[in-house]
């Protein structure tokens, strides 16, 4: 053991019932090192750091920090030994100042006076030392996400952390903020601190860390030096098989499917959620909306899900004004993928087959005279499960409660429900309802399409379609969306993940404070441009 090892995990094993979340994991962390912990959802990253920080107790194994054994199951002991954690979801009190938040929990409650002056001096000093400038008197509620994260890091540093654990720290940041975070990390390790950086984003991990520990299925598969590692290798090691990266076929945009003119949406209390938005969605084209969460994405998604009415302006789908009735949008062939799959996408208590036809249960395809056509609905669900590879229904079949599915399989179910659309009527000569044939120029059915019975989607509205999914599932979802667009659908993608946006989009627009920038071809944006626009300085660029 070199004297530079600050943290040593030996043979950590943790079981939950029959599931082995961590299987004999041994790992060292060096002084002044950023160690990335890479793995898919459920690989055991969170369990491992929870054990490290004392939230869980390991079934087997020991932890040593700075040469001393770390008592298990005591977050306080971990803190005292210099281990600090920054959670993905911040643990800050919004209504208090930065100083209050940093002091919170550091003082004995029976002490009559608060030592604010000393705490302030320490906060300012720590901030200067690590280049983390934050106004101690600012209210948390007034800070940006990046600034809040800095407060979290400061909180750990002021408590004397020498080892910092960052759980998915970039998930909520704009590109500019990510750069600033990476700068902070460099300063931390220059001063001899050590960092464990948890992520599933390969680019970041390669950029920021010295060594990469890859977890899969609870086992430590490999520890690689970041220098010389490449993305494909990391992805393969992480997933355990070759990942089919989505392939794009060149395509020509066709006719306009959906358009927004001067669209304004107001909240119940009169705030403008969307402010004069113009947008044109064409067949065979993907338009992505980038932006920091909370800048009107939800209003835009709900508008195009048919759930929200316009306050002013015009919204047309295939040349017709559309009412704010979700059922009408479904009938018009809009494939809708909501952001929150648990709360909005599915009814968890209902069986898989009922969720597979949730949007269309009351249509003639699945019901007659108020009676559900069980056989038809179940056949459709079976087909969906097969075609979209929904797993987890082996023991109970179609009656499996949908909440028992994993996130990825739930998303496949939602994707399948949206993309498969309504079964086509039996008669072979039937035109799609509405009279005119398809308005787009693309091929009626592309590769991967089932020439069976379904009407392809005309418009896909996908709000964060791969949020929280692992690499394999992400690739699958992306491929299905690309295939559907190749078959002639128009698509609107709302995402906070720039990798996803640039992997899929033909044109990109940025939403900030309810205002949408012009949608420019994806190749015209630089990362710096888009970062500025997400932070709201698009005004200078626009005109």
């Amino acid at each position: 053991m070199s004297s530079d090892t600050v943290l040593r995990l030996s043979g950590i094993t943790k079981r939950f019932g029959s599931l082995v979340a961590n299987d004999a994991i041994s790992l060292d962390l060096g002084r002044g090192e950023v160690l990335a912990l890479l793995g898919e959802n459920g690989a055991g990253k969170s369990t491992l750091v929870s054990i490290l920080f004392g939230h869980y107790v390991a079934d087997e194994g020991t932890i040593e920090a700075f040469g001393q054994p770390l008592p298990p199951g005591q977050p306080k002991a971990a803190l005292a030994m210099g281990i600090g954690m920054v959670h993905q979801h911040f643990t800050l009190a919004d209504n208090l100042s930065v100083l209050d938040n940093v002091m919170l929990g550091t003082e004995p409650l029976w002490w009559p006076f608060s030592r604010r002056a000393a705490a302030r001096a320490k906060l300012v000093e720590t901030g200067q030392r690590f280049g983390l400038g934050v106004d101690p008197d600012a209210r948390i509620a007034d800070l940006s996400v990046g600034e809040r994260q800095r407060v979290e890091i400061l909180k750990a540093l002021v408590r004397g952390a020498r080892i910092l654990i960052l759980d998915e720290p970039t998930a909520v940041l704009t590109p500019t903020e990510v750069e600033s975070l990476f700068g902070t990390l460099r300063q931390l390790i220059e001063q001899g601190l050590s960092v464990i950086f948890i992520s599933h984003k390969l680019d970041e991990v390669l950029r920021v860390s010295q060594r990469i520990a890859i977890l899969r299925g609870g086992k430590l598969i490999a520890v690689l030096p970041a220098a010389g590692a490449d993305k494909a290798l990391l992805a393969e090691t992480m997933v355990g098989r070759q990942v089919q990266m989505p392939t794009r076929r060149p395509r020509e945009p066709g006719a306009t499917v959906c358009s927004l003119r001067d669209a304004t949406v107001q909240s119940a209390d009169g705030r403008k959620l969307l402010d004069g938005v113009n947008l044109e969605l064409r067949a065979g084209e993907i338009v992505a909306i980038a932006g920091v969460a909370g800048n009107g994405q939800q209003a835009l998604a709900e508008l195009l899900f048919g759930q929200h009415a316009l306050h002013s302006g015009r919204l047309e789908l295939q040349g017709r004004a559309m009412p704010a009735r979700a059922a009408d949008w479904v009938r018009a062939g809009v494939a809708r993928i909501p952001e929150d799959r648990h709360a909005v996408g599915i009814v968890g208590d209902l069986p898989v087959w009922e969720n597979a036809v949730l949007e269309r249960m009351a249509t003639p395809a699945f019901a007659r005279a108020g009676i559900v056509k069980r056989a038809a609905a179940q056949a459709h669900a079976r087909q969906l499960i097969e075609r979209f590879d929904v797993r987890g229904t082996d023991s109970m079949g179609l009656d499996t409660p949908t909440r028992a599915l994993s996130g990825g399989n739930m998303q496949k179910l939602i994707l399948g429900r949206a993309l498969m659309g309504a079964p086509r009527p039996r008669s072979t000569a039937a035109d799609p309802p509405g009279g005119s044939g398809p308005a787009w120029g693309g091929p009626a059915l592309g590769p991967g399409g089932d020439p069976g019975s379904d009407k392809p989607a005309t418009l896909i509205v996908a709000d964060q379609p791969t949020w929280g999914l692992d690499i394999g599932a992400v690739a699958y979802v992306h491929q299905q969306l690309l295939d559907a667009v190749a078959r002639g659908a128009a698509m609107l993608l709302i995402s906070e993940d720039l990798d996803e946006i640039f992997a899929l989009a033909d044109r990109v627009a940025v939403l900030h404070n309810g205002r949408l920038s012009a949608a420019r071809p994806a190749g015209d944006w630089t990362l710096a441009d888009i970062g500025l626009a997400m932070a709201g300085s698009e005004a200078e660029h626009a005109h």
Partner: protein, 360 residues
């Protein structure tokens, strides 16, 4: 040892849960019986015999179960959609009053319609009265977000006072020697007895038929599907394009109609006139029964017969061994509580395992 949630509830445990709950209930209640100074075994034997031990006991139990099935169905369908209708008691009285108002017009002659027409009209009027009574709270809930628990509960008192006013006023039976009761329905408007010399009437058949119909609706109907979806996740139901507010209104009409029918069937089958004490809280018991049945319409029938049997059996037990009849209320309440705990516990599993075998 740890407790973990099961991803998929165990079917066997779900079936065993009610039995365990009943066993626990009898155990707890036996302490009270012993406290009252009665022999526990004998008391339970008498209770069972009084509720289920003879043709007569069964007839009384089923008579009592008839309105309970209907109010239980009323609660079950409403609760399934997360419409918490606490107003079945008021809807029951409104239904009873509407039935007698129609059937007892002109001194019991009705509209001089043939009873074969008047009886269905009476039942329809009762259903409409109950449904309309719940329509207001349902609209307030879906339009303005007003809590339906408060509105339906308070409406009960308004309805009871209204019934009291009518029974002491325009609908008072002039031949009742001053008692506040309505006119008596003519014989032709009363439901036939199922068994001679007992009080069981054809209303039981209606209640059973409605239970089966509601079960089929919930299982096979698109409305039933929408009710289940809206109740389990209203946001997802709205996203999927279901008219959530409209479904709530339909459920309210259905639930109110069932409770209203309970009142009409009780009048036409048992009492033949309306009094202010015709329901010993059937509306509220319906909630207990629906919960005992886990909101399953066929389960409601079983739960209603169980509760009715306990109530009837406790009467005869109390006469024989001098335990107060309130023991019946205790048994029903404890069984509900232990049932709720048992069904929740069935969703979990207990895991035995070594903890913290931390070397060092």
């Amino acid at each position: 040892m740890r407790i973990e949630k099961r991803a998929v509830p165990s079917r066997r445990l779900q079936l065993a849960a009610p039995l365990l709950a009943i066993a626990f209930t009898l155990l707890v209640s036996s302490l009270l019986v012993a406290w009252a100074g009665a022999p526990v075994g004998k008391a339970y034997a008498l209770l069972l015999e009084g509720g289920f031990g003879s043709t007569f006991a069964w007839s009384e139990t089923l008579t009592r179960a008839t309105p309970l099935i209907l109010t239980g169905l009323s609660a079950a369908v409403a609760f399934r959609a997360r419409l918490f209708n606490i107003g079945a008691e008021g809807q029951l009285y409104a239904g009873a009053l509407a039935a007698v108002a129609l059937g007892g017009l002109h001194g019991g002659a009705g509209f001089a319609l043939h009873p074969a027409l008047l009886l269905p009209a009476m039942m329809a009027a009762a259903a409409v009265a109950g449904a309309l009574l719940l329509l207001g709270p349902a609209l307030l809930k879906s339009r303005l977000g007003v809590d339906e628990v408060v509105t339906t509960l308070l409406l009960n008192f308004i309805v009871l006072l209204f019934v009291s006013m009518m029974l002491d006023g325009p609908m008072k039976d002039p031949t009742a020697m001053g008692w506040p009761q309505s006119v008596v329905l003519q014989d032709a408007l009363q439901l036939d007895k199922l068994v001679a010399r007992t009080r069981v009437h054809t209303g039981l058949i209606w209640a059973l038929a409605l239970a089966v119909a509601l079960w089929a609706l919930m299982k096979y109907g698109t409305l039933g599907f929408q009710i289940r979806a809206v109740g389990a996740n209203a946001r997802a139901a709205a996203f999927a394009g279901m008219p959530v507010g409209w479904v709530t209104v339909k459920v309210a009409l259905l639930s109110g109609a069932l409770a209203g029918l309970a009142g009409a069937i009780e009048v036409a089958g048992r009492t033949s006139y309306v009094t202010l004490d015709m329901s010993p809280g059937y509306g509220y018991s319906g909630i207990v029964i629906a919960m005992l049945a886990a909101l399953n319409p066929l389960g409601v029938v079983a739960a209603a017969v169980f509760v009715a049997g306990i109530l009837v059996g406790a009467d005869s037990m109390s006469r024989a061994v001098n335990v107060p009849t309130y023991i019946a209320d205790v048994i029903v309440s404890v069984s509900l509580l232990s049932m709720l705990v048992a069904t929740m516990a069935a969703q979990y599993r207990i895991v035995f395992g070594r903890r913290a075998a931390h070397a060092g």
